[in-house]
Amino acid sequence: MASSLKADLRVSIGSLKLKNPVMTASGTFGYAKEFEPYVNLHRLGAVVVKGISLEPRAGNPPPRIVETSCGMLNAIGLENVGVERFVKEKMVFLQDVNVPVFVNILGDSIDEYRVIAKRLKDVPGIAGIEVNISCPNVKKGGVAFGTIPEMAALVTAAVKEESSVPVVVKLSPNVSDITVIARAVEDAGADAVSLINTLIGMAIDHKSRRPCIANVIGGLSGPAIKPVALRMVYQVAQAVSIPVIGIGGIETYEDVLEFMLAGATAVQIGTANFINPRASEEAVEGLTRYVVDEKLSSIRDVIGGLILP
């Protein structure tokens, strides 16, 4: 059994030590309780919960999701219970699970990010904050924080000011040069960056002549985006000196290894959780076997170990 094997899978995200590099991606793992019937949550490196806003959000009208080739397109519309209910209702379960919890936060203004971070400060059981900068800045006319380096830096600095735990900034791939944004948030104090968020896409039903999801456009995820994610992780890992958390189409331990070779210190498993709720735990088991079989002293030996032609 892989669970009885001993391997050093520990990695660090800022001051936070994770027992292994496998995290779950925001929006694909609920508030973790949903996966309790299938997964030994304490065996994961960390869980990242569904994005939390200041006020509860009902989300977009249906249909919200559609399957595409090797992937899925979603426009959930950031449905969530809001920060108050999250702290009072959802954190209670998470505090009893021995796994580091990252809270993904989102807002329409820098002030909203700041207020949420302040509310989460000193809540027991929160190991880190992941800042979702892909949502639109309503005050600036709907321009996403994630696409303008100065705005991304301002959000990062505001959250850092209010946080006592590591702050990870989740980057949008829908930009012309992701390394510019990555460097901007690093300079603003981010402890790590996670990437990529979904790629903006679209699906059309030619029979009805309508878009497949009500929001018309949505975020593409799943195996279809893995090559794009790998490329961006590879580029960002060379551009910044803070840890990079790889996300995008990861399902198996082999996928995890590929992202780590490209320079990721840790990874997040997303859409795969929907298909195989045990994907994250199975990836940990696979990494354990790999480290033992390859006689590595640590999984950290893999990070950035890509052999170039």
């Binding site: 929006g27 793992f29 609920g30 989300g59 249906p62 919200r64 999701i65 449905e79 859409t271 929907f274």
Partner: protein, 262 residues
């Protein structure tokens, strides 16, 4: 909540019509715990395309060991399932969601359309087993005789009589299930349980609302995970906002939902 992720063996695959299939799977974990109205998420293959699992109602269980799903081939996923062979294994998550509720003291009426008939067989069977009073009234509709006849057969084998309706009149009433309902002498204390295409459920809901009959419906939506994580499977609520078909449903009190009445 008891949910399982299981590799389950296909013990039987039956072709009921050129495009309707029924698969029997072996899993005592799922079969012994499933309640009528619950569903399973089925992986149609090992590859990455199609990527997502497909939700199917459990159409019946037997011996606490076997359960069945019924489906029509409509795309690549269902086509792959139709090509499975006995002895092969399918990855299943379940049983998921809430089930139907039923009251043995009430007159029960089950209304199903097309593949929505599947969970009503399980419900009818449970009623027969648990209720000593009169058996439920069953009204089933489909496009034509070819599609409806094999589905009615299951109910008849249980000793349940069925009022059939077909779009083309090839079996039973030429028309909709609501045409049959209008002719039945249903008590206001009757409990209606419905599963079928949305226009059919909308019509039955409106019929029940007018007659002040209690009505529960099983909703079908696109869903990625089936366990409350993807938030994709929403159904609009009458009071505003949304419920999640997978975790709050799929069975809802029809009055709580927002119906698009055209």
């Amino acid at each position: 909540m008891s949910q399982f992720q299981e590799k389950t063996e296909i013990t039987r695959i039956e072709r009921l019509t050129p495009d309707v299939f029924r698969i029997t799977l072996e899993s005592s974990e799922i079969a012994s715990r499933a309640r009528p109205g619950q569903f399973v998420m089925v992986r149609t293959g090992d590859g990455k395309d199609p990527l997502l699992r497909r939700p199917f109602s459990i159409s019946q269980t037997s011996s606490g060991k076997y359960f069945q799903i019924l489906f029509k081939v409509i795309g690549r996923g269902t086509s792959m399932l139709a090509h499975c062979r006995e002895g092969e294994y399918l990855s299943i998550l379940g049983p998921l969601g809430s089930g139907f509720t039923f009251d043995c003291k009430a007159d029960n009426c089950l209304v199903g359309g097309g593949m929505g008939i599947a969970p009503l067989l399980f419900l009818g069977k449970s009623m027969l087993r648990n209720c000593t009073l009169k058996p439920p009234t069953i009204v089933l509709g489909a496009r034509n005789k070819e599609e409806l006849a094999p589905l009615i057969k299951d109910f008849k084998e249980l000793g349940l009589s069925v009022y059939p309706a077909t779009d083309d009149g090839s079996l039973g009433t030429h028309g909709l299930v609501t045409d049959i309902l209008k002719g039945l002498d249903l008590a206001p204390t009757c409990k209606m349980s419905v599963c079928g295409p949305t226009p059919m459920m909308t019509a039955v809901h409106l019929f029940c609302k007018k007659k002040e009959i209690s009505c529960q419906v099983s909703m079908e939506t696109a869903m990625a995970c089936g366990m409350g994580a993807c938030l994709g499977c929403i159904v609009p609520l009458a009071k505003g906002g949304y419920a999640h078909a997978c975790s709050d449903g799929p069975v809802f009190d029809a009055k709580e939902l927002l119906w698009q009445v055209r």
